[in-house]
Subunit: 208 residues, 2 copies
DNA sequence: TAGATTGTTAATCGATTAACAATC
DNA sequence: TAGATTGTTAATCGATTAACAATC
């Protein structure tokens, strides 16, 4: 294991994970950096550099064992260690994410869902009722969720995030437009800025 | 306007757009790169470099006019030019995105929604019925959508994407795990890999 | 004018690519 | 052994930061 792993490397790991899955499905259990580079549209050099950040996973003259490599990536990403998480905001996008994402596969166990809207409170998602956001404090003091998925409008996101940080939440999967990292530099944040992404597509269309 | 604008710069533009919005709401109509850098957690240098890729938007000794700057960014991102788009796959995530995203604000006008599931066909989203995916060919030949939002499982995504490219769709907002760019290098793709994002959060939690 | 802040060039830093010796 | 392919160092490329002259 080398020193500091760069962000660029980390962001490529899930993609490797995905492609290794595909190889496994095709019954391929051995792959060289050259072959993988062609399949993924990267350079073989980059692939070898990336993997070598974490140790020596390959074998000279042979390549990489698909299964072992994927297990290493699972380990690096920490997908086997489970973290508790709550979903705050179960509107259009919150509900979509809640139902679409297989949290368990990626190291998260959802322990609660919250919304402010009375009409949503009590509805079942998975096999859990949506709770009133007024019970957030109490719930967190009892259950100590480690992470929160934030699917709220920007103003609510700001307030609720600060509240959750006080309650000990350490990591946020942030779907809101609120920039958590600016106010809370020491908190772990992963942003999903859908609007930003769509604007980028608009840019590409303009400058094709 | 300089030569090639780097990807890193483009990806920062929507974020500038967002922060300028916030400034406008606060009634601030003038900002220096130094102040903005503190608010956004960037260097002032980078901000000036970024804006200078596209022209001279500021004024020495004064800074930038918030309104003008935002209009320039809107122009650069092409948010005023409207593009027609369809949404393919109206399951959990497709529906969430369809209802959550304000496509019109970002240069897109949704002209059709499609799903394969009979139980969904006919249901109304916005003021449009979800159509059967079997009518995709006919619809595209008549309406020529420029872009498609892909919210499908990986296998369906692969097939439908190829079909849509044949029908003249030029750009994809891709929520599937299928890597469009590998098979179709000349097509415009903007990926939203939610699973990848969540795995990154898992990594951060492991290596906090 | 003096102060502030841009636009822009130069320096630094980091990430990607190329090359090749080590080794299976 | 000969061929293949890794692990790793060195070279290149690109992006960020620093510095400062231009100018409002």
């Amino acid at each position: 294991m080398k020193e500091k792993i760069s962000n660029s490397v980390i962001r490529r790991l899930p993609r490797y994970y995905r492609f290794l899955d595909e190889l496994k499905e095709q019954g391929i259990n051995r792959i060289s950096s050259g072959e993988l580079s062609r399949k993924m549209g990267l350079t073989a050099s980059q692939i070898r550099q990336d993997f070598n950040c974490f140790g020596e996973f390959g074998q000279q003259g042979y390549g990489y064992n698909v299964d072992i490599l994927q297990k290493e990536i699972i380990n690096i990403l920490g997908l086997e260690k489970m973290h508790t998480a709550i979903i705050v905001g179960v509107g259009n996008i919150g509900r979509g994410v809640a139902q679409h994402i297989n949290f368990n596969n990626f190291g998260f166990s959802i322990t609660g869902l919250f919304d402010i809207k009375e009409s949503l409170v009590g509805q079942m998602v998975y096999n859990m009722p949506i709770r009133n956001i007024s019970s957030l404090d109490e719930f967190c003091r009892e259950n100590h969720p480690e992470a929160a998925v934030i699917c709220l409008p920007v103003d609510a996101a700001k307030v609720i995030t600060a509240q959750l940080i006080n309650l000990g939440v350490k990591a946020f999967w942030n779907f809101s437009h609120y920039d958590i990292a600016v106010d809370h530099p020491d908190i772990l944040v992963e942003n999903v800025h859908l609007n930003d992404s769509l604007m980028t597509l608009s840019y590409k269309l303009k400058n094709n």
